[in-house]
Symmetry: D2
Subunit: 149 residues, 4 copies
Amino acid sequence: MIDRKLQSTYDAGVAERFLTMNEKLTGLPEFLGIRFVEFGPGRLRAELEVRPELLTPFGNMHGGVLSAACDHVLGCVCYPHMKPGQWAATTEFKLNLLAPVSEGTVVAEAEIASMTRTTAVVQIKISNKGRVVCLAQGTVLIREPKTPS
Amino acid sequence: MIDRKLQSTYDAGVAERFLTMNEKLTGLPEFLGIRFVEFGPGRLRAELEVRPELLTPFGNMHGGVLSAACDHVLGCVCYPHMKPGQWAATTEFKLNLLAPVSEGTVVAEAEIASMTRTTAVVQIKISNKGRVVCLAQGTVLIREPKTPS
Amino acid sequence: MIDRKLQSTYDAGVAERFLTMNEKLTGLPEFLGIRFVEFGPGRLRAELEVRPELLTPFGNMHGGVLSAACDHVLGCVCYPHMKPGQWAATTEFKLNLLAPVSEGTVVAEAEIASMTRTTAVVQIKISNKGRVVCLAQGTVLIREPKTPS
Amino acid sequence: MIDRKLQSTYDAGVAERFLTMNEKLTGLPEFLGIRFVEFGPGRLRAELEVRPELLTPFGNMHGGVLSAACDHVLGCVCYPHMKPGQWAATTEFKLNLLAPVSEGTVVAEAEIASMTRTTAVVQIKISNKGRVVCLAQGTVLIREPKTPS
């Protein structure tokens, strides 16, 4: 049911544009080095490479990197289903960190579990070297453009 | 009850050392620009300044900055109550983002609600310009040193 | 700020009516035996007595009792701030169980952290014999009457 | 990986015994009317029938029923992987309520995402009439017997 609705509201052109944004990351996404890899109806796959700057002095990736990645994909998975000018704002999420990460690629997969015109609930699975390292679940608010266009 | 216990396990010397770490931030804390301002038994106050790099293209602070800040203080508030060599690993937390942030100082206050030898539950309140913008709650695991010293 | 707003939207008459509902509990609240004890602007205090039916075979109160109590006060704390006919629906919450409960009175204190016309974020503290046993945080949606009156 | 481990620690006899417990439910599970339907390695499916006692005056199932059901299956899915005498205590969970429930059968599916000797992270999906109505995620602590045997 949900899948059919997500199929019908999915705009592949928006997804395409997000993929080209990988070339010009700024701010937090640039620091994380998080790249969109693949979009689909209700789905987004993003990746980042572990590098020394993302580790704590103890040699494990800072939990804040994973939580920031969750927040990032939580909103971005929704854009291909939104209208031009709207923006997605995370209002809440929860995560469980299951295993430490110290090297390699981190793969974040976001999936919309439920979406209305104004809100979406999203689940996220983050893996590293074939192992699930983080599970998250949260809510995004779909906001109208700030200034009328 | 808890307060008395936190009072008795609080090591002001460790807190002092954390405060000097503000001078040499690296990695994610450096990117966030998050500085410890004050420690107390079961309490930590940290601050960061909003700067363009922390905003999204929509002009609001990236939710990932707040979630990363939560993860950071969640663990750090525990160190003055831990033994040398131990380290604190966030295992889970949940946050609610209550209002957008676009400028000024972000103040994160963490408070230990409950602590045993191996685990702590911490609550976090983040404010900006006198307004609560984020509430979080999570669990930290206290880990033994990786290699025997 | 929030306090002033909650002060101005608080309807003591509604609170009064909720207190009289203690006499005729039905359904889940009746099974829990949860009674409203005191309302205030943005605040609700409720209590329930531990009784054998609420325990697991291991002699501790079933975690589901505490989570159900959280869900209950999460919505009910909002009613004195809502318009006639509106109803409060929990959309999400998270809880941490800090200590087992096996006897005595369970006291749940809910406090509105942030409220708009359509949503509220609430924090809950549950105590037993002077000890905090559960902390929760969640979101309530304020819904319009189902049928126009 | 995890699956193989869960496969090897799964005790079908324990699962069998839990299924027979449906006949003699007491306490909260009895009030909920929640029956175990099927166990598997790392998996549990439980069901309950909506009945008037589980509804609010607004005609929807009380959110506390769903949260209590989450808490219940969160722990119970672990038992076939635990040692005799050990018990499972939920320490934290988070849920999102996606749609109201007013009649029919409620199906809760719990799945262990990660499990060590002392802890497990579990995800839960609750459906009603073919629609996902609740998603939850939480942590269980595996406790040793209270009294040495």
